[in-house]
């Protein structure tokens, strides 16, 4: 008979093994479930999880999908480590894209190397400002940042609709709600074979954040405030400062990711700009164990499910909901496997009488 037994110390191996187990369990159970539904379940697993990884031309797609997820999740993880729950990255992402678009439209028909950096700064600052609102509310009035940051997402989306339906509407666009298409000076450079510049930048950013969190006093402070608030206070670390820092970091990276999407793959601002990266990034952050390098891997895994999910629709006739099923299963199994971090399975022999 199997039985759970509490470990004396949480298992470090299991912390990293749990996500791997979750992915494996998803593949096995997903294969069985879709077989039971009358599809070729294991072909589906191969199409969704394996094919995108072994097809060279799909790597570019993976980078395109993973880059914004990794950037946003890296920023969110800083906050989550400090027990600051920024759920509104989607809104910070939208506002970042909007601010960059504002710069792009203001510099319409101008050229110069300074335009793109200015757009990046505007995007990051706008994301920080949007996340600064919950930070202010939390530190001043003790308002729960989960609610305020989430609700600000909807405000951001309405702001986007207003801008593309009103002041920013393309004058030559037949009244369609979208802005002009950005010019070359306003677009991220496209690296052939890799994708837009945001893909390598996302990698650099996650390495930099890893260094900051693991090797600097600042990172230590954030981790201590999250893990042991009393000890942090005793050690003289300001909780208020950490809240600000966590939200600004998350907002800034989400805003920058939004700008990168607007000035890269989108190349303009459209109502369909919010695609849920800000919410999916929460899954990525936890799947990656709130560790920048783990997040990198998790971002790629989620990207694999998106890219593979689309391919399996046309190759196997799977419904698009299959992607969602696999993603949710992964999170579900991760939460289940997390039990093994603090507990161990033990085989207990039944004593026969």
């Amino acid at each position: 008979m199997l039985e759970l037994e509490r470990r004396k110390v949480p298992s470090r191996t299991m912390i990293w093994l749990a996500p791997v187990l979750a992915v494996l369990a998803t593949m096995v159970v997903g294969g069985l479930v879709f077989s039971a539904l009358g599809y070729d379940g294991f072909a589906a697993v191969r199409a969704i999880f394996i094919d995108p990884l072994i097809t060279l031309r799909k790597w570019q797609d993976l980078g395109l999908k993973a880059a914004p997820l990794v950037m946003i999740a890296t920023g969110l993880a800083i906050g989550f480590r400090a027990n600051v729950w920024n759920i509104g990255a989607e809104g910070q992402y939208v506002v970042g894209g909007l601010a960059g678009t504002g710069v792009a439209l203001a510099t319409w028909e101008m050229t110069g190397w300074w335009i793109l950096p200015l757009m990046c700064i505007a995007g990051a600052l706008a994301g920080m400002a949007w996340a600064g609102i919950p930070a202010l509310l939390r530190t001043r009035f003790n308002v729960n940042e989960i609610l305020s940051s989430l609700m600000l997402t909807y405000v951001a989306v309405q702001l986007l609709y207003y801008m593309v339906n009103g002041p920013w509407k393309d004058p030559d666009g037949f009244n369609f709600p979208q802005t002009r298409i950005f010019t070359d000076a306003q677009m991220l450079p496209y690296l052939s074979g890799i994708g837009y510049l945001n893909v390598p930048l996302a990698l650099v950013i996650s390495l930099v954040v890893w260094f900051l969190m693991a090797r600097t006093m600042l990172g230590f402070q954030i981790r201590v405030v999250g893990a042991a608030p009393m000890a942090a206070r005793y050690g003289g670390f300001s909780q208020r400062r950490t809240i600000w820092l966590a939200l600004l970091a998350g907002g800034g990276l989400a805003g920058l990711a939004g700008l990168f999407e607007a000035a890269g793959p989108f190349g303009q601002m459209v109502p369909a700009f919010p695609t849920g990266y800000g919410f999916t990034a929460i899954i990525v952050a936890f799947l990656g164990r709130l560790h920048p390098l783990g997040i990198l891997a998790a971002g790629i895994i989620l990207a694999v499910t998106y890219v593979g999910g689309e391919a399996s629709q046309s190759s196997l006739g799977l419904p698009s909901a299959a992607t969602g099923v696999f993603q949710s299963m992964m999170l579900f199994f991760l939460l289940a496997a997390d039990v093994l971090v603090g507990w161990r399975l033990r085989l207990r022999r039944r004593v026969t009488e």
Partner: protein
Amino acid sequence: MTLITRRGLLKAGGAAAATLPFAGRAFAAEPLKVAFIYVGPVGDFGFTFAHEQGRKEAQAHFGENVVTTYVENVAEGPDAERVLKNLADDGNKLIFATSFGFMNPTVKVAKRYPDVMFEHCTGYQTAANIATYNARFYEGRAVCGTIAGHMSKTGIGGYVASFPIPEVVMGINAFTLAAQKVNPAFQTKVVWVSSWYDPAKEADAAKALFDQGADILSQHTDSPAPLQAAEQRGLMAFGQAWDMSSFAPKAHLTAIENHWGGYYIERIQAVIDGTWKTGSVWAGLKEDMVRMAPWNERIPPEVVKAAEAMRDGQADGSVKIFSGPIVDQNGTEKVPLGSALDDPTLLALDWYVAGVQS
């Protein structure tokens, strides 16, 4: 086969009508691969569902000579670009992009795959390998408007709308104008949901419109949720893109049905024959691309007669819903008596007729 009239509606790229270097023979050995991308799920029972019916019709028509596949729920933007690119890489030679927001992604991908032909639904950009096609939904809206003018007791129609693009604006105007021909005081209230498919938002919009006095509802979004809301309140509504009467047997008066199958068969055949050319198609009741679903039995016979007159008149060209005099919301006369809006003006329509509250 339906006959489809081709018109050079917009200047954009219309000149490039060169036949692509495509030999029909090449496909004799292996089946032609044709792909469709949809903005919603095939189970929306509306716009995407109608396209899926068209795809199935084409697949049944060609049998083993053609392989059709689809990708549903594709977000408008970079996701669409990636899906289009992958479909082209997978060897599809004809790709139907069935939503307005796929336009810029289609243009981008089409440039990189000059030997793949693209068909974009409801947009305005064409190229040597991009054709556009659309249906005159507004003709169906006018039939609904006629019914609404007769059936509404409050004289207020509700309109659940997606985005204020010309296609939607002309639908609102056609509905209102037709209703006002019956009841000159008829008003249309519009709620925008900023989505093509969002059942929860659509239902909320419908309820808000009913609370503002509307007793009959039209929608330019793709789910049956507004109809279900009408059914619950015991009011009336029109289906979108396909017969949705199973969701609201009492409330569903009729629906505007989109029949794409004939067009899909014609275009696929053109690729097989090597005669595919770019162009812009805008077909309606006359060509059978737009049809009306069966009338609900609660519609009195004289109203059915008026609706059929509106339907048949538009089909044979004797009735033009956008003929003057038409006055806009500000009271300015936009179309004088004796003239009518032409197609290029309609396709850039950005004002509402008097009686619309948007």
